[in-house]
Amino acid sequence: MTVVALPEKLKAKDFATDQEIRWCPGCGDYAIVKAVRNALAELEVSKENTVFVSGIGCAARLPYYMATYGFHTIHGRAPAIATGIKLANPELDVWIATGDGDSLSIGGNHLLHVLRRNVNLQILLFNNEIYGLTKGQYSPTSRLGTHSPSTPLGSVERPVSAAAFALGAGAQFVARSIDTLQTHLPKMLVRAHDHRGASFVEIFQNCIVYNDGVFSDFTAKDVAAERQIHLEHGKPMFFGADSSKGIRFNAEKFELEVVEVGTGGIEEKDLLVHDETNRSLAGMLAAMESPGFPTALGVLFCRPAPTYEQAVGEQIEKAKASNKKRDLNAVLHHGYTWSIDSEHHIDTPAK
């Protein structure tokens, strides 16, 4: 009798490579790579079946630090390359590591289409609201008035919201977390992986060199409870240090509002209950901004739908089933042909 030895369960450290990490000391990316390794260990995925694909930027260096297959490509194009990978081999487990410049500026078009097509992969958008690797220019998510080498008087462009963009592009899974939330972030990565289809995770990431503390209005320890709301499907939307606040839908104004539970006759039943299958609600939650609102974290939206590569594969299987012989010679001979014999007699073969 042969006993098949089960492979030893991989630990987070097994997903580390021997390459020296080249991010700045104190960069939020260290926390993210740690969370990613933890998530992979928890998911018990195999190294050989996992592929990290990235474009250009600080975030895009992540594949070098993962002991899986990895492809560091060109600026903004990771979603397109990942789509090609999934078309060639849908069984591969593909993750995209990208930044706000990479996927909302130069690669905005590809992000739109990979989400719309619902290719089964995970997209981790490291949003630090700045261009790091090119030394600190404002990015498409930078807030109005951001001072940078290219905007010495402050930026005059209104920023794009990554989560709202993803929802608008038709993403079927949108989640949010913060680099330093080492319990929450791996959970979001696991949820993203469990979802079949294009899963979009926006990670608020601190750039210690060019944009330090840009998210501290809601990530700093002393304000976190008041400025973050952690969404859970089916649960009422409480937040605040003693869970005394909540989110209510004001039907008259057709907007969300922050309320104090227990004052003015407001009870728990008046609060919104999170329904992660509701795209309209997700859109409103994504649009909540501090200081007026807490920042929504967790799974904003999740509604599984058929994946792109599945539909492509089904069409191919159907075509194969309808043409079992698959003789290439038949392709060359289809339609009108004629033959010429040694007496130069021309004949049209019957089809």
Binding site: H72, L328, N329, T337
Partner: protein, 622 residues
């Protein structure tokens, strides 16, 4: 049998001709391309050799009756092997005044012009820029004229079919085709078969079109046309024994790519973004899903190139296709494929530029772009197809070189080749040698950038292979380990290696041969791509008159064949006709310090035979 409604082929004395060039022209909504295609089919079945040239406007439906809305289709058919779509037409079929105005100048003096007189209204004449009616003012005096009210004849022919006036008039191309079929003794069966299949679900349209076709044919038989119009016969050409079909460059490329990946035992992922004149390749391949072809209409040209790279990375062969402007967008991605040494095939169906240029007109002005058009030192392989049918073998060769050398390969086609058609002696798939790709799976040798000592190709390792996990990317890699390296000496070594690998492909391609003429002499005409036909004819015409001239035609543009420099040096003069401002000629001069000289043409139309022949005679008789 022609069909129940068709009268038997009348026995008329037919004048034999060696070759005829007919140009069908009309409004872009008149179905000219379809008419030409059907005439080509019937002509091929009559055993002639032929080549066709569709020439259509960029607008899908330009305003009716305007000159810029004229669509044309030219066919050259012959009792002898033919390699061009002909210079000046012998017959011009003009379905409206604008078609006559645009094309008449090119009709050979004494040629036959067939017009639909029913369209020569004051309004249509004005739209075509005529101040008087050319049918009446003597401007057709130097031609033979057959002016028929085809519109009226067509309406009469289909009146039993209960069609609207508009639908009924749409059949006039078939009436015209019926008449031209009669003039050249063509059988109608291939067209009636096609109409029945095409209008399977609209039998009334099939019946109307067949009725119009038969009526046009009957008109020829019974109208007692004057002697100078007459009936003709072009004897069949002596073609080798075998099975034939008409094929366009687009079809040949599609089938060549499928055959190439079949021989390589690999799946193809074809990624493209629509662009004229390259879209046809996407359409052709999208219908071949059962042959392990995945087609992907990407969101843009860049995504198409990148998805192809992703597919190759994952172990399929990624192929992308476009025309010049789209290839420009792909160049950064092509650089990534060069840096990561992944195989991809890039098809460029060239069109006239720069920028949007003349989207439906032909040119071969992307040779520089193919050979040199990327940032940094980034060599790759470039091949050029010389005719529609040649695309089949060129595509197979591209797949072979890409997978063997782990490199991008560019195939240069052009608008002419993509759309033109010619009879093709259909090969048996078994006659081609297999070249199965090998994926590295042996952990002991897992060095992603270790190399085959002969080809200098790196191994192909598919994600999903256990214990072979590794990272690749566009950053420079260490020669030995494949890890990121910013080392100065290493970059020099890797740059040299990338050039060495592509240079080495020259050891794997045939030496350059001479198509016609001696291997040394006074004059060699050197071409590439779709100039093959006119150069070939021009050289054989000159040689028939005793002029010693040779024809050399390149398939391998980069790397060039080893013996090419020596071959060119053996001629006193080297003439390079190109549909560009002089690109191959510059390449030859820079590579070999050659004395090659340019014959340039950039009108959006192929060279005529006499343009090249005149230049040969000028040089040799001076």
């Amino acid at each position: 049998m022609e069909g129940p409604a068709a009268p038997a082929q009348a026995e008329v004395p037919r004048k034999a001709l060696d070759a005829v060039v007919i140009r069908f022209a009309g409004d872009s909504g008149d179905g000219i391309q379809l008419t030409g295609g059907q005439f080509a089919q019937a002509t091929a079945l009559a055993g002639n050799d032929l080549q066709t040239f569709p020439d259509f406007p960029a607008e899908i439906r330009a305003p009716t009756g305007t000159k810029f809305g004229v669509s044309a289709f030219q066919i050259n058919f012959s009792a002898k092997p033919t390699r061009t779509s002909g210079d000046e037409p012998d017959v011009l079929v003009a379905l409206n005044p604008a078609a006559l105005a645009v094309n008449l100048d090119e009709l050979t003096p004494g040629g036959l012009v067939i017009v639909d007189a029913g369209t020569f209204s004051a309004r249509n004449l004005e739209k075509a820029g005529y101040t008087s009616n050319p049918l009446e003012d003597g401007s057709l005096a130097k031609y033979r004229k057959l002016a028929i009210d085809i519109s009226k004849m067509t309406l009469a022919a289909v009146e039993n079919q209960k069609l609207s006036q508009k639908e009924a008039l749409r059949c006039k191309n078939m009436w015209t085709l019926g008449l031209v079929f009669w003039l050249y003794g063509r059988r109608r069966k291939s067209t009636t078969d096609w109409l029945e299949a095409h209008f399977k679900h609209k039998p009334e349209l099939a019946a109307a079109n067949i009725a119009a076709l038969n009526a046009g044919h009957a008109f020829g038989e019974t109208a007692e046309l004057s002697n100078d119009i007459g009936a003709y016969q072009v004897p069949s050409a002596e073609l080798p024994v075998g099975t034939y079909r008409n094929i366009t460059g687009t079809e040949a490329l599609a089938w060549g790519l499928v055959t190439g990946t079949h021989l390589a035992k690999i799946k193809m992922v074809f990624c493209s973004y629509p662009i004229t004149p390259a879209s046809g390749l996407l359409h052709s391949l999208a219908r071949l899903k059962e042959y392990d072809v995945v087609t992907f209409q990407a969101e843009d040209e860049i995504a198409a190139a990148c998805a192809a790279i992703g597919a190759s990375y994952a172990g399929s062969l990624g192929v992308t296709s476009s025309s010049g402007p789209g290839i420009a967008l792909k160049t950064e991605a092509i650089g990534l494929a060069i840096a990561t040494e992944l195989p991809i095939v890039i098809v460029n169906s060239q069109r006239a530029g720069p920028s949007t240029g003349l989207p439906t007109k032909t040119e071969q002005s992307d040779l520089y772009q193919a050979v040199f058009g990327r940032n940094a030192d980034s060599p790759l392989v470039v091949l050029a197809a010389n005719s529609p049918s040649d695309c089949f073998e060129v595509a197979i060769e591209a797949v072979r070189l890409a997978t063997k050398y782990m490199t991008p390969v560019i195939i240069l086609s052009d608008s002419y080749i993509a759309n033109a058609s010619e009879p093709w002696h259909i090969p048996a798939i078994d006659q081609f040698a297999h070249f199965p790709v090998r994926f590295l799976t042996d952990k002991a040798t897992c060095k992603p950038f270790a190399r085959d000592t002969q080809t200098l190709a790196r191994p192909w390792i598919k994600p999903g292979t256990p214990n072979m996990e590794h990272r690749i990317g566009g950053l420079e890699k260490d020669y030995d380990t494949g890890h990121i390296s910013y080392d100065a000496e290493n970059h020099q070594r890797m740059t040299n290696l990338r050039f060495g690998k592509i240079d080495g492909v020259a050891n794997d391609i045939p030496l350059q041969d001479v198509e016609q003429g001696a291997i040394t002499g006074k004059l060699a005409v050197v071409g590439w791509g779709s100039t093959f036909g006119p150069i070939s004819h021009a050289v054989s015409n000159a040689r028939a008159d005793g002029i010693e001239v040779s024809h050399i035609h390149l398939r391998h543009i980069w790397p060039l064949p080893h013996n090419l420099g020596g071959l060119l040096a053996g001629f006193e003069q080297v003439l390079v006709p190109e549909m560009n401002h002089g690109q191959l000629v510059t390449l030859l001069r820079s590579q070999y310090l050659s004395h090659a000289e340019s014959l340039s043409k950039v009108t959006g139309k192929p060279f005529t035979v006499h343009e090249i022949e005149d230049e040969i005679r000028l040089r040799m008789e001076a």
